[in-house]
Symmetry: C2
Subunit: 396 residues, 2 copies
């Protein structure tokens, strides 16, 4: 086993979650415990670009007690990026690791970040530079392979499920017949599916749920809305920002010239205003649309305690394994029991998660493609971390 010396660098990639900083805290606090005092513990400012730009944040030099605050703060405490590395970037990154004697590299992120970590590690090995590399999973989309769930998902799921309960109470009391809530998730419907947790009674919102795994024709959508409206007079709809029509074209409003991020992923979103207009135009019914957007992942009021605990745990686990000499892995999560809800952590090879995408399994989509099967509750409920707020209603 290597002795834990050399410098430590941690970075955050992609969009933040409500608990991503807890993962950083887990890994960093473990590093403080395990590395000798001559080793630097750095954060890369702005993800992998912080390494390329040599902008390191000295984590040993932060005020005492700051990690209690950082672990509960929204955003990426170290800054993040959406940069796909070129071969030249990778070579440069390895040279800079060598220059700064970085022997431990952690990337907290999604599948793009796992790919980056994997490339960096492989290039370092090829050039004979010894560096241990670990990935720490993070994504509200819950679309990483090989892990039961992704830290960040439970809190965003909690936000959307609670927002759906709250929205349902509001719309139920109004003559507004139709309301759409747009939910984040480009290709994976895990978050949109979580709005089903809002339901208890048969007429509770949401009444229709559309995930991007199932293509949706405008005709089918309008027929679904009309059917529910005719039956009960009000319709609340959860719809993924990534929804596509039967030809695979986005259902969103066109975005014009700027249409991809640094990884070339199409820009998504504004599906709900587009479909609200479709309803108004074709059915002549007033339709609102709501899009909490980034607030869903930034709201500290909706953090799932389970999610935060696991986020920190997975960061600590990754550091423990790295300091034990392991490399090229992402720390993954296994569900051991429920109830009581208990997890364990295990390493999976980075190359198995790099760029892989775990979509919502078809078994969770109800027949008809416009709802989520009740069986999904068992999967998602423990992740949101305790009861949602339910409200009293007068007897009518």
């Amino acid at each position: 086993m290597r002795s834990p010396t050399g410098n430590f660098l941690i970075a955050q990639g992609g969009g933040p979650t409500a608990v991503i900083n807890a993962s950083v805290a887990g890994a960093v606090l473990e590093a403080f415990d395990r590395l000798d005092a001559s080793s630097q513990v750095w954060g890369a400012k702005g993800g992998i670009t912080g390494l390329l730009n040599e902008t390191f944040i000295g984590l040993r030099q932060q005020p005492n007690g700051i990690w209690d605050g950082i672990r509960v703060a929204p955003g990426a405490a170290l800054g993040s990026c959406r940069k796909k590395l070129t071969e030249e970037d990778v070579a440069c990154a390895v040279a800079l690791c060598r220059k700064h004697d970085i022997r431990y590299f952690f990337y907290v992120g999604g599948n793009d970040s796992m790919d980056t970590a994997n490339m960096l590690s492989k290039a370092a090995q090829a050039s004979g530079y010894e560096m241990l590399v670990a990935g720490v999973p993070k994504t509200i989309d819950n679309d990483l392979a090989e892990t039961d769930f992704c830290p960040g998902y439970g809190s965003a799921a909690r936000f959307y499920a609670q927002a759906m309960i709250d929205l349902g109470m509001d719309i139920r009391s109004l003559p507004t017949p139709i309301c759409l809530m747009e939910v984040m998730g480009r290709n994976a419907g895990w978050l949109t599916a979580a709005t089903m947790l809002a339901r208890r009674a048969p007429d509770d919102a949401p009444h229709l749920i559309y995930v991007p795994e199932v293509r949706l024709s405008r005709e089918k959508f309008l027929a679904d809305v009309k059917e529910v409206y005719d039956r009960q007079g009000w319709v609340v709809i959860a719809i993924s920002e990534g929804m596509c029509d039967e030809k695979g074209e986005s259902l969103s409003l066109p975005t014009g010239k700027v249409s991809a991020d640094g990884f070339g992923h199409r820009m998504v979103g504004d599906v709900a205003p587009a479909l609200a207009r479709l309803i108004m135009g074709e059915l002549g019914l007033r339709a609102r649309n709501e899009k909490p957007g980034l607030i869903a992942r930034a709201s500290s009021h909706h953090v799932s305690p389970v999610d935060r605990e696991v986020a920190e745990g997975v960061g600590r686990f990754a550091a423990q394994r790295v300091f034990a000499g392991e490399t090229d892995f992402m720390a993954a999560i296994r569900r051991e029991s429920d109830p009581p809800f208990r997890v364990s952590y295990f390493p999976v090879p980075l190359e198995k998660v790099a760029n892989a995408e775990r979509l919502l399994p078809a078994e969770y989509v109800a027949d008809g493609g416009n709802d989520i099967a009740e069986s999904f509750r068992e999967y998602a409920e423990p992740l949101v971390g305790g009861e949602l707020r339910r409200y009293a209603r007068l007897r009518w």
Copy 2:
């Protein structure tokens, strides 16, 4: 003074707030205390339409302790409506009050509801039917005349200010350069202005604030965004859903056929996706947009304790004055001191608030029309009811 006998009817009009049910609880619990047991205490189901349809909810017949739950529930517990009464409706409503021996009528709502209450009361008087009528203010828009503020505003303001802090933490950590948050308020900018409470440091979000009292040309908007972007590399914008261009045309996406509510008010909203597209098209910068929408008024996680207390207080006050024989008034709020923040209640004639609209005074709009003056903090801060959540940041 009349003795408190006869039946009691309370209704809720327009969009709910996070604390509207606390106002109902205040008035109803006062009625339980003051009316003899032979008097019915009813809620009209679905606002004034509940009176016209004779659908009354028996409030004495509800389970014990339900009001503890109702006063904290989102939505309108009695159901609401957006109905403008015709002369025929008014005559019908008076006849139904007479039929059901309704001697006390309360309408919890905004300026449209105050107009409805006023019409009903005047028509009852003209027909020789004795009925005492009170209005209880409610609106997240804060646009009722004659009152220092409106119950419901403080909680929605708290939501938007907190959401802006959270969103700022997220966007600050990302390479996403531009983000717009759309804020409710058709003509009045009180809520959009409240996002300024998110700021402490000069570079804190929001960096630009647009209220509907000031018309906005697309050229000016783009120049503002570019100026902030060139200076600091990221821009978070709070913008009212009701924004109009210099010709008075809405800046929102077109809504098509369905474009007005029951009072003929134009439908607003989806200004942020329209302007995000304008930025992407003209400046070539990636721009996100967020629209919490109704969640801002339905979230029980962001209720201002001050707001809830005043909402219940104003309901109780209205009932106390009615049972003392007063009629044709809306209970208004006077700010007595700050600090400590204390209010008193007083009656204002319904006709002074019916259909009147109190816009954000020009003194609160900063020069240039793209920000809110610091002096607004003194007005708004006590209403959001205590400190917002602030977060730790690493030293870079």
